[in-house]
Amino acid sequence: MLTRRQATITMGGMAVSAMLALSGCAPSVGGATGGASASAAAVSQADIDKAMDTATTLTVWSWVPNLQNQVDLFEKKYPKIKVNLVNTTGGAQHYPKLRSALKAGKGIPDVAQVEMQFIPSFVQTKSLADLTPYGAADQKSGYVDWVWNQVAVNGKVWAVPQDSGPLGSLYRKDIFDKAGVTEAPKTWDDFAAAAKLVKDKTDSYITNLPGNDVGQMYGFFWQAGAKPFSYDGNKTVGIDLDSADTQKVVDYWQKLISDDLVSVDPDFTDEYYQGLSRDKYASWQVAAWGPIFLQGTAKNTSGKWRAGTIPQWSEGENVSGNWGGSTDAVMEASQNKIAAYEFSKFINTDSEAALRLATEQFLFPTTTAILEDPEFVDQKSEFYGGQQVNKFFAGVSDTVDKDFQWLPFMDYVGSSYGETLGKAIADKGDLRAALTTWQSQVTAYAKQQGFTVK
C-alpha cells in the first residue's frame, strides 16, 4: 500500500515527532474494562459484551487515509466506545514516535498500525499484546494462509492483518508490441530475452531496478524461495542474506545491469514518476497496491498497461512474493485490550468496513471474503485496458510463498541495504560482493545488539 512510498520520504520531521511523543500526546484513557492484567486466560463472550458496552476511549495510530470512515462505522455499532484516531502520516514518522512512546512508558496508543516486517521488532520489545486470549486464533480460516503466517507465530497472534502486497508485473502492452514481445514474459529467462528486444527496438528499458528499494528486493527474494531471516521471538536470529537463492536473484540482475538492459533509477522520486509517464520503463514488478498508484502517477498512459504474473524462476511454476502490507496491533500497555482487539477486528473484517478499505482506500485485502467479493474483484479498469486487475491480484495472493520471516531490526537491515547491495545497484557495481557485505554488516549489528546469531 502507500506505506512504502511514504516510508521512503524520510524527512527531518522524525526528531520532532519523537519529541511530541515524549511530551506525551494522547495518553490512553483507562476505562474500567477488562484486559487490566495480561492474564493468558481466555476472555469469555460475556467479558467482551461487557467491555463493548462500557464507556471507553481508544487511541488509534494509523496512516491509512480516511480511516475515519471505518471508525465511524465502528462507533455506530458500539456507541459507548469513542475512538481517538491519530494520523501518524507514514512509517517514517510512525515508528520513531511509537518507539519513543513505548520507551517513555506513556502516551502509548491502544492500537497501532504496524507493517508486517516490523512486527518482530515490537514482539522483541514485548510491546504487543498476544491476541489469542481474545479469540484471534479463530480468525485464521478467514485469511489467506501466507498473510496469517505473518501475524501468527509459535501459537501466538500478534496483530490483525490489514493489507498485503502480492507481487505481479505491470507492463506496457504498446511498448512490448513495438518490440515484438508478443506475450508477457513467463520466466525470468524470457524476461531477459525480452529486455534485449525492448532495448534494441524501442527507447525504453524493460524495467527499472531501484537501488533504494529494499522492499522490492525482499519481494524478489521471497519469490525466489529465499529465507534470509528468522527469529525465535526471543534472542536468536538467523541471517542468511548470502544464500544460493539470493545469489541467484542478484546474479540475474547483475547481468541485466551490466548489459545495460535495465535502468537503475531510484524509485518513488519525481524523476521516476516522469520516467513512468514518459515511456522510460516498459514494466514494473510491483505489489497489488501498485496498479492504483500507477494510475494516479502516469495518467497519460491510460489504457496501455496490463497486469501479468511476475516472471518465474522455473517454467510451469506459479510462485509470487510480497512487497509491503500492514496490520493493526494491540499494544501490551493498553488498558482496553478487549475493545482494542474488537476495533482492529472490526475495521478489517466487518463486511462494509473491510470492503470500503479495499475499494475506497485501495488497501489490497487480506481476507478471503473480500478477495472473493464480486464488488471488489469484478471491477474493471480502463487504465489497464478493461482488465479485472483486482481479480488478477486476488489470484496472485494464493501463490505467495508461505514462510517468509523477518528480523526484529528491519530498520537497520534496510539502511544497510542502501549502503551495500542498493549502492552497488545504483553504481552498477559488483552485486555479489555487496550482498556479502550486507550479510556481514547485518550480522555484526545483530551481535552488537546482543542477539545470538545462529
Binding site: T8, I9, T10, M11, G12, M14, A15, A18, P96, R99, Q124, T125, G211, N212, K235, D265, P266, T269, D270, E271, Q274, G275, R278, K280, P408, F409, D411, Y412, G414, S415, G418, E419, G422, K423, I425, A426, D427, Y445, Q448, Q449, G450, F451
Partner: protein, 303 residues
C-alpha cells in the same frame, strides 16, 4: 593606579549595579540553562551508557567515545565535511567579498536591485532550495540535463556518489553567498569616509583602496563569516538529508557526522552512541573554531 577608580566608587553602588545586572540577565540565563545546558548535560549523560536491543542499558563509561574514534563512518563523514569546508567555504567567501566590494564601490548600476537579488536565495528555506536544485539536477528530465542535450553534449550525472558532494556545495554556495555578502557589505558601509579621502589624496585607485583600506577594515566581519561557515559546514545536515530522497544511494547514512548521528538514533535505535557522536562533533567544531580564531588574533596582534 588601577585601584584608584575602584576606590572612588562606593562599594554599595557597585554591588547594586551587579545585582541589577544579574536580574536583567535572568530571563536569558533561564532559557540558556533550560534549553541549552540541561539538554547538553543530559545528552552527555546518555552518551555514557550503551543499550542493546537484547540486554537493555548498561553503564559504559567512555566506551561509546572509544568506539567512535575507531568508527570509519564517523571519520569518513568528518573527512567529507572537512573537504567541504576547504573547497566550498573559500569559494563562497571570495564570491561574497567580491560582490560586497563591487556593490560598495557604487559603480554597479541598480545596486539595490542587484543586492536584493544576490541576497534572495538566503530567504529561500534550505529545504526548498535543496528540493529545487534536486529537480534541476534530475538525471533524465532535469533542466541541466536538458540544456546539455540541447547542445548535444553528454549530460553529467550530478546525483551520483562521486558528484553529490560537489552538487551539495553548489546548493550551499547558492544559499549563503548572499547572506555573507550582506554581513560584509554592512561592515564596508561602516568604514569612516575619511579613510577614503586620505587614500584618494595619496593617489590610490579603486583596487588599491579595496585591497589596502577596505579589506583590512572588514577583517573582523570576515572572521565572523569564516567561523559561521566552519560551524555550518560541520553541521551539514538538511541538504544531504533531503538529497537522500532524490539520490538515495549516493548519500549514505553517514554522509555527514550530523546525519550519521541522526540515523544512528532513529534507524539503528542506538541513541547512546548517537549522543556520543554528537558530543564529539561539538568538540571538533569548538577546537577548530578556537584554532582559527586564535590564529587570526595572533596575526592581528603581530600586525
Amino acid at each position: 593606579m588601577t585601584a584608584l577608580p575602584a576606590r572612588r566608587r562606593p562599594g554599595r553602588v557597585r554591588s547594586a549595579q551587579t545585582r541589577m545586572a544579574w536580574i536583567l540577565l535572568i530571563p536569558f540565563l533561564v532559557v540558556f540553562v533550560a534549553m541549552f545546558l540541561v539538554p547538553l548535560g543530559y545528552s552527555f549523560y546518555v552518551s555514557l551508557f550503551s543499550s542493546q536491543l537484547v540486554g537493555g542499558t548498561v553503564f559504559a563509561g567512555l566506551g561509546n567515545y572509544a568506539r567512535a574514534l575507531q568508527d570509519p563512518s564517523f571519520w569518513g563523514g568528518l573527512g567529507r565535511v572537512a573537504l567541504f569546508l576547504l573547497v566550498q567555504v573559500p569559494i563562497m567567501l571570495i564570491a561574497a567579498t567580491f560582490f560586497a566590494l563591487a556593490l560598495d564601490s557604487g559603480r554597479v548600476r541598480g545596486g539595490k536591485v542587484v543586492r536584493l537579488l544576490i541576497f534572495l536565495p538566503y530567504a529561500v528555506p534550505s529545504v526548498v532550495a535543496t528540493l529545487m536544485w534536486g529537480y534541476l539536477y534530475g538525471r533524465d528530465f532535469g533542466l541541466i540535463t536538458q540544456l546539455f542535450q540541447l547542445v548535444g553534449l553528454p549530460s553529467p550525472n550530478l546525483l551520483s556518489s562521486s558528484t553529490i558532494l560537489g552538487s551539495t556545495m553548489n546548493i550551499v554556495c547558492w544559499s549563503f553567498i548572499g547572506y555573507n555578502m550582506i554581513i560584509l557589505y554592512a561592515a564596508l558601509r561602516s568604514i569612516p569616509t575619511e579613510l577614503y579621502e586620505a587614500a584618494e589624496i595619496d593617489g590610490a585607485g579603486q583596487f588599491r583602496v579595496a585591497w589596502s583600506v577596505k579589506l583590512p577594515a572588514i577583517r573582523p566581519a570576515l572572521l565572523l563569516t569564516v567561523i559561521f561557515s566552519i560551524i555550518g559546514s560541520f553541521q551539514l545536515f538538511n541538504e544531504p538529508n533531503l538529497l537522500a530522497n532524490i539520490a538515495p544511494n549516493a548519500v549514505g547514512t553517514d554522509f555527514s557526522p550530523n546525519l550519521y548521528a541522526f540515523n544512528l538514533a532513529f534507524k539503528n535505535q542506538d541513541i547512546n552512541y548517537a549522543a556520543a557522536i554528537a558530543f564529539l562533533l561539538g568538540l571538533v567544531i569548538a577546537i577548530i573554531s578556537f584554532v582559527v580564531q586564535s590564529a587570526t588574533n595572533r596575526k592581528e596582534r603581530q600586525a
